[in-house]
Subunit: 138 residues, 2 copies
DNA sequence: GTAACTGCAAAATATTTGCATCCTT
DNA sequence: AAGGATGCAAATATTTTGCAGTTAC
């Protein structure tokens, strides 16, 4: 695990520091997506709130994580898969938000269907978010 | 127009006041969705920021508008169509965010395709947001 | 007249920035 | 050694709450 974390950071051109290790570890050990406040809670006040902001920003810029749009103002972040690179995301999977347990999951095996847009519109990126009850809460 | 606005408010069980009239008028005269700050800007400092919050909240609760999820933390609001009622939205259309002009549009005629979720997952509501270039900016 | 809406002030939260210090490479 | 990351303090920005005055029904 330790080695894997360092490898991921290095291969994304991020220097290996305590804070980044810990936050990345959180993502790896968590099945779903994390919000900023999730991260603050789960790290037990170990480091500064500002560091969390900057770390997430750095991860985003390097393409290590992606954001998941939600209707309730709370941005969530999730790890990108191997086929993502900086600036060029390949996350065409569906996101699921459980209304019971509140967790946000990437349904990697569920791909977003292609749609026909009205004439003149060009799509660059498509997001699909499903709200409902997840497997565990059913 | 004036009459229409009052009718809409009344039929949604909202009392008719100056602020609500103005905000609803904004929505009606705007092709796309509006964010909180859009509304503040376009109303020319006429009324309090708090009133905007409370008005949007009231519109949301009565099912007059709905939120559009975005990946960048900025909630946008758009008018619901006739087939929406309080608490029970029928907005299964695709939303489009233009990266050029920044406007958010409801593609009412483009419906969200149904998808097959993994076993055990139950969908209650599905959101689909397309980022790209709109008809006017192409 | 009563209930609901509004504006103002203030509190509570969330996010950003600058800078000195410490850590990685 | 140099550049980047971190923590702290402080500046901004955003959202919520309480209350008194006003307005809609």
């Amino acid at each position: 695990m330790e080695a894997q974390i360092d490898t991921i950071l290095k291969s994304n051109h991020l220097s290996v520091t305590g804070g980044r290790r810990k936050i990345l570890e959180l993502f790896l050990s968590n099945p779903g997506a994390l919000s900023h406040s999730d991260i603050e809670k789960k790290t037990e006040e170990k480091f500064d709130r500002v560091t969390v902001y900057r770390t997430l920003q750095a991860f985003l810029e390097k393409g290590l994580i992606h954001t998941i749009p939600t209707a309730d103002n709370s941005i969530r972040y999730a790890l990108c898969k191997d086929n993502c690179s900086a600036g060029h995301h390949q996350d065409n999977h569906v996101h699921f938000i459980c209304s019971q347990c509140g967790s946000t999951l990437c349904l990697d095996e569920t791909t977003i269907p292609s749609i026909r847009l009205p004439k003149g519109f060009v799509a660059a990126r498509v997001e699909m978010v499903v709200n409902g009850v997840c497997k565990n809460c059913k």
